[in-house]
């Protein structure tokens, strides 16, 4: 069940009108899909549940969504943004 790593938080930035991910010594602006995945990493939802939720919300095929979610989370885990 992925969650944001210690010290990582998200906020809406009124200046840039964008969601921002803030982390120790860095920050990044996720694209819309990445943000939808990141904001579901609350430590209670499984990767499968996140994919279910996104597939329903965006009317996409679940196996396609699951592949994207898995790839992004693995990348974010390597960067220390998400822990699983």
């Amino acid at each position: 069940m992925p969650r944001l790593a210690r010290g990582v938080r998200t906020r809406f930035d009124p200046t840039r009108q964008k969601w921002i991910v803030l982390a120790p010594e860095r920050l990044f602006v996720p694209d819309e899909i990445a943000f939808e995945i990141i904001r579901r990493c609350d430590g209670t939802a499984t990767v499968g549940a996140i994919a279910d939720d996104l597939a329903a919300a965006f009317h996409e095929q679940r196996h396609v969504v699951l592949k994207d979610v898995t790839a992004l989370l693995s990348d974010l885990a390597e960067k220390g943004v998400v822990v699983t």
Partner: protein, 363 residues
């Protein structure tokens, strides 16, 4: 239209119990009586958010030397800023750590001079520094805050980089930074004592790569090749006046923390105008912003909007001209001068260290 900055380095004070000979503060340290008041720093935190910055790095000197640090942290939190405490940690007790966490601090970075107590104390010019830092790292963890261990490396400790990394990992940080000394200010005075050898620089790259493999998914390690051994300059501060600004203890607003070494520049203070006004329109920020100030070889270079000409302070320190291309670049006619400084520093052996002190004017 000028983009807002992303991050601000707030140097709350130049006072520090340590005397590291590579301190990034200017050689002319600001005295405590000139420092901004608590109320002024609280206002500054709001102005930092107003100009559009998202992160504030609370640094010094030693920021813990300010008894009002938790009030400043709370103001940063209220303004929506992500706050990072950059500290030597010798003043970071469990009790103060709890107060800072309660005030909403997001992250702590602790710098280490060595993994061996006597060597660490010698560089810091402070007895018992290492033991205090380790206790402080534990206090950070107990408060649930993320920790970065910053390892400052140079010729006198690079051969033990493996030991430094082992010590760092044992402190259970989220992130480790292997930071080669940068040669400005105090460090220029100690260049001959600290300049790494080419073998050390190569070996450090390999050591860090092995550690990254071992620690993948557990700890992030950031490591940047030291400037004097580079061939392409770094976009210093992400480019002058593009991403970053620095506020000195007395409230001067600078494009980078070493900018006061540049001659003839006038820096406005937060007592005169708002940070937003200074960022968007002031002689200091306009001086090297963008590309129109650039001479050759930068002006026609395809990398001019990648590295933005590199570092102005380094250009000045090596070539005598702040508007020259950063001599780290091998397209710069002064690159050979940089190489000769490196060789000269290595040939001089290991002179005594010049410690960072008020009123020390050696070099």
């Amino acid at each position: 239209m000028i983009d807002p900055p992303l991050a601000v380095l707030a140097e709350l004070t130049h006072r520090c119990p340590l005397q590291c000979p590579y301190c990034s503060n200017p050689v002319e340290l600001e005295r405590s009586k000139t420092e901004l008041s608590t109320a002024e720093w609280i206002r500054v935190m709001r102005e930092i958010a107003d100009v559009g910055a998202l992160q504030v790095h609370l640094s010094g000197g030693e920021p813990m030397a300010r008894p009002d640090l938790d009030q400043i942290v709370a103001a940063a939190r209220d303004a929506g800023l992500y706050s990072n405490l950059i500290t030597s940690a010798v003043l970071l007790t469990e009790e103060r750590m709890e107060r800072l966490a309660g005030a909403g601090l997001d992250h702590v970075q602790i710098s280490f001079q060595d993994s061996e107590p006597a060597r660490a104390d010698r560089i810091a010019g402070y007895r018992g520094a290492l033991a205090k830092k380790k206790r402080a790292a534990e206090a950070v963890r107990m408060c649930g805050l993320p920790l970065t261990v910053n390892l400052v490396v140079h010729r006198q400790n690079l051969t033990t980089l493996e030991d430094l990394l082992t010590m760092a990992v044992d402190l259970l940080p989220q992130r480790i930074e292997v930071a080669h000394v940068q040669y400005y200010g105090w460090a220029i005075r100690n260049r001959a004592a600290l300049m790494p050898t080419p073998e050390q620089v190569r070996s450090a790259l390999e050591t860090v790569e092995r550690a990254r493999e071992r620690l993948r998914g557990r700890v992030t390690i950031d490591h940047v090749v030291p400037d004097y051994y580079g061939r392409r300059p770094k976009a210093c501060m992400g480019g002058w006046g593009r991403r970053f600004l620095n506020i000195t203890p007395s409230g001067k607003v600078l494009p980078c923390h070493a900018a006061e070494s540049l001659p003839g520049m006038v820096f406005e203070t937060v007592r005169e105008r708002t940070i937003g006004e200074i960022w968007r329109d002031s002689p200091a920020f306009d001086a090297f912003r963008g590309t129109s100030w650039m001479p050759e070889p930068c002006r026609s270079c395809e990398r001019r909007e990648i590295d933005w000409g590199g570092c102005r302070c380094q250009a000045l320190a090596i070539t005598g001209d702040a508007a020259a291309a950063d001599p780290v670049c091998d397209k710069s006619p002064d690159h050979v001068t940089l190489t000769s400084f490196t060789n000269q520093a290595l040939a001089e052996g290991a002179p005594d260290l010049v410690y960072r002190r008020y009123g020390a004017r050696a070099g």
